[in-house]
Every structure is written in C-alpha cells, then in structure tokens.
Amino acid sequence: MSNPKKEFDWFDHPSSRRLLWWLLWILCGLSIIAEFFIHRHPHFSIDGFFGFYAVIGFVGCAIMILAAKGLGIWLKRKDNYYGEPEETQLPEDIDGDLR
C-alpha cells in the first residue's frame, strides 16, 4: 500500500464480522438468561410469561420488516418518479469534499 498511514478498517475483515456476530448472539442469550434472576411485576395478563420482551422484540421486528417489505412492492417507486431534476451542482452550504 502506498498510503504510509495504515487505514483503520477493522470492521471490513470477515474475522471481525464473525466476532461481532458471536457477540450479538451472546448478548441476546445473556439478556434472556438474566430474566431467571429477576422478579417482574406484569401489568397485564399477557406480559407475565418468561421471555415476553424477547419475543416482542424478535417477532415484532420480524413482522415489521416483512410488512415493510410487502408494502414496498406496492409503494416503492424509482427515485425520479416525480420527475424532479437531479441537482448537478452542490448547494453552497455543502462542502462536498469530493467535488
């Protein structure tokens, strides 16, 4: 590499990404295991069972992503749908380091 100062690119390495995946699974596991050691006070009948919030988080988010994906088929349009001109010149308040 000609660049004398080595760039920080830790997140690009497959090994780091694997490590982060592991970390994510472990944290998920820990948050669920921690429920064994606490005493919750449910306010409704449905939120009393073990791992309720984990289920809400997982199932809820999955449903929302699928719903968004489904609606996307119907709602998504090309960028230039409204036929507005793409600005070729950057506005003044943008430094545009790359321009």
Binding site: D9, G60, C61, M64
Partner: protein, 592 residues
Amino acid sequence: MGIFDNLPPAVLLFVGACIVPLLKGKVRNTFLILVPVAVFFYIMKLPIGDGLSFSFLPSFGEIEPLRVDKLSKAFGYIFTINAAVAMLFAFYVKKAFQNTWALVYIGSALGVIFAGDLITLYINWEIMAVSSTFVILARDTEKAKGAAFRYVLVHIFGGLLLLAGIVMNISAGNGIAFDGFAYADANIATTLILLGFLVNAAAPGVSAWLSDSYPEASVTGGLILSAYTTKTAVYVLLRGFSGWEPLIWVGCAMTVFGIIYALLENDMRRILAYSIINQVGFMVCAAGIGTQMAISGATAHAFCHIIYKSLLWMSAGAVLYRTGKSKCTELGGLYKTMPLTLIFGTIGALAISAVPFTSGFTSKTIIIAATEHEHLLWPWLILELASAGVFLHAGIKFPYFVFFNVDRGLRPKEAPKTMLVAMGILAFLCIYMGVRTEELYSILPYAVDYEAYTVPHIVTQSQLLMLSALVFFLFLPMLKRTATISLDTDWFYRKGGKLFYKLMDSSLNGINAAVHKSFIGGMVASIIRMASEGPAKILILVMTPYWAVKGIDASQQKELRNEIRTSVETGAFPIGITAWLSVLVLAILFFF
C-alpha cells in the same frame, strides 16, 4: 427589571433576527449562538404565573402573550438550548438569509409556547409556517423550491382549519383563552382546532409535508426544522387536548407508520424525518392518555427527543456536508474517516432507541409506564413494539448503512470542529439526562413517581433491544437498500395536482377551443359570407328560372352569374336594377 419581567421571549428572538443581517462573518455567527443562550437564561428567570396580558376588545377576553408555567418553561428551555447548539453547528454558514429566518422561526415557536390566548397562538403559528418555508427555500435548489411550495400550502391549509376553529369557538361565546378543552364538550370548533394542530404534529394522512420538505432543506436547515414545528404541536396538544381519547390511537398509528416508512427509505435524512413521526407518535399518544404521568412523560420525551434527534440530524448533516450525498445506496464505510461523527451519531441512535443509561430510557419509558398505569393493553403493546422498531430503523439502520455496510470508496474529511463540538455537547446531554434523572424530572410539569432504573426494567429493555438487533442482522438481505422512494400521501397532491391541472387543461381549454371553432371560426365567418355573398346568391336564385325560361344556355348563364357577383362586390348595379329592386321591396312592404 421592570419591562423585562413582561417581555415574551419570542420578542427577544425577533429583535435578534432584525440585527443578524447587519452583522458579518464570525461576529454574526457568534451573535446567532448568543441570542438563544440569552433567551434561555431569560426564560429561567421568568416567574411562574400570568406574565403579560391586556384587553383587546371588551367581549373578546384578554390577550395574553406571556403565560409562564412549568409546561411552557420546559419547552422554552429545550427550544433555546437546541437553538444555541444548532447555531454552533451552523458556524460554517456564510450567508445571513437562512439563519435570520431560523431565528424568526424559533422565536415564533416560543411565541406559541408562551401564548395564553388563541389569537397570540394563531399569529405565532402562522409566522412559524412562513419563516420555516424560508428556511427550506434557503437551500436554493429546484427540489427545495418545490418542497417549500408544497410545505407552505399544507401549512396554510392547517392554519385555516385552526383559524376557522378559533373563530367558531369565539362566536360560540367561549372566548379566546387557551386552556384545556374538555373531551366531553367536543364540538366542531374544538375539532377544527385539533385538526389544525394535528397537521403540524404530522398525524397520519397529513404527515407527508414533513418527510417531503425537511430532507430537502440545507444541512443546518433540516437540523433546525426537525425540532420546532412538531414539538410545538405536541405542546399545544398537551395543553389543549390532554385526555382526548382518539389521540391515543392517532399516536399509536404514527409510531408504526414512521417505522414502516423509515425501513423502506433510502435517503438518510428522510429516514430521520420518518423517525420524527414515530417519536412524536409517542407524545401524541401521551396527550391522549392525559394523566399527569403521561403529560410529564411526553414533556420529558419531547425534551430528550429534541436533543437526540438534533444529534442524529447533525451527524447526517455532517456526512452530507462532507460528501454531498445522502442516499444509503451511495454511502457506506465512512467509519474509516469520520469516526467522531460516527461515535456522536451512534450515541444519538442509542438514545432514540432508549438504551439504558441514555436519555431515551429515562423519558420514553415514562409514557409506556403511563399506558400500564391506565391498563391500556393495546396502546401499551403497540408502543412496546414501536420501541423495538425504533432500534431497527434509527438505532441500527441509520448508522449501519451510512458508516458501515459497503465501502464505496468515499474518504471524506472528519466534520469541521464547530460541528464536532456541537455534536459533543448534545451527545453529553443524551448521556447526562440518561443518568441524572432527577434533574430532568425536576423541570416536568407534574412530579413523576417513576423509577426508570430498576433491575427488571433494564433486563426487559435489554431483551427487547438485543433481539431487535438480532432480527435486523438476520433479515439484512431483506433490508438491502434500493434507489427508490416510497409513495406517501403527498402523492395525492403531487400527482393529483398534475392530474387536476391536466383535467382542467383538457376540459376548460377544450371548451374554449370548441367555442372558438364554432363561433369565431364558424358563425362569424358565415355571417360575413352571408353579408358579402348573400345578395349575389339571392339574385342568382331569382334570376336562374328567368334565364331558363328565356332560353339562355349554360355557358351564358355562367357568364351572367359572374357579372352579378362582380356587380354586387363592387356595388355597381345599373340604376334600373336598383330602382326595380326598390320598387319590389316597397311593393312587398305595401302588401304584407
């Protein structure tokens, strides 16, 4: 202090806005920071109670441009703190236009907050609409002009609803005082006022102005806009419509709507715009619940939300400022060269997701606890789901697609120092208010008996968030960005407007063309023809049988016809014929 005891804070900002164009360069930009700082301390000093009021017309009631209580003070604090830090972020701006209008905009928002009557409120409401339009226009691109045009039309519509409601309320003999309207006495007047407020709160159906216009504003313009219009609407809902049950459902719908659209969106600042709708949904829901706990929760949430949302807009703004790009499909891998922007942006992202030890955790959860206290099962469940969804779209999606994802070869410089300092201040506040809850809770309108930091709460919140994060990364292939936009309700007036134009064009211009063709082209021409050729034709009609009887052949007849025509055209009849015709006419008149 004398007169300064009674001056509405808005006036100070309006005066400041008048001075701004007279100053230059760094002096001006420093002045822009100092004005909101000064107003912050002024608001802190304002004594609780009715400040300034005067009689306008005897039957009208009191005009009250300054009413100070804990609710208005809390919003006053956050509006001015945010303004000062935003102006620090905007230190790079060279022209006066945008930030002058921004001061007017912030001033009029404060004018609404401290208004004790509907007339003062309405005037400031409209100043807010106009000045914010200029803030959008300041970016000076074709897209911004189009968005500003649509923006101001929607807000004029909302303002008219509000005005109609106020006028009807006055004519019903209810005066101009702006206090809580009772849900039990709901009528057309109060409903119209509510609808006017909901336009600014970006309620479903009338929310498209927000996601359409804010992302088209400049780097700082979007940042400043993101804080005031919707939060002013939240304030007036808390003040005027607390306990209006339908608002619970409006709020719930907003939280889900914001998430779904933010998940579909490609433009990073549009993701943040939809996320405002999601967050304001929590506050609108709280207004609907209307208990003291809910009102305080919404105030705390508005306070914290303005800070972390500004922080997110700042980090997105810094990226836009440096790269000139705002689409996820064009961004990625920026962690390498903009690490500080990433860190500050991530703190904002964690705070909006209500991660423990950030401000979202100590504020948003009060609203959720309020639903629990009132045993509102469905609203509670929707808000919990929405909390998980926030982590998806704002907490992870925004930083992930901008700073990580694919390296697109962009190597911009780190954000300018003033931007970094501004982001640093807000990032500090996000954590400070997440830890020092008592200081946040002390400014709320009602004392809250709520403890955010219990072990079970931290555990359940961690479960909710960690599993949401897991879903994000498991479903990542489904979240791949595409260079698309999503249709929103602005479709109706953007495409509908064009359709209306075309319809009017083809129908009205069609009628016009048909009328032109038949009258100007047809009737007038035939009248002219009749006048010029009619006499000759009649003569020929009369003479033809005569010629036939006389035995004149066809070619001679043709000659005679031509003779008649030229005689008529030139008016050169032999005297005999003219006299003969005159006698004929007189004879007809005589006998009939």
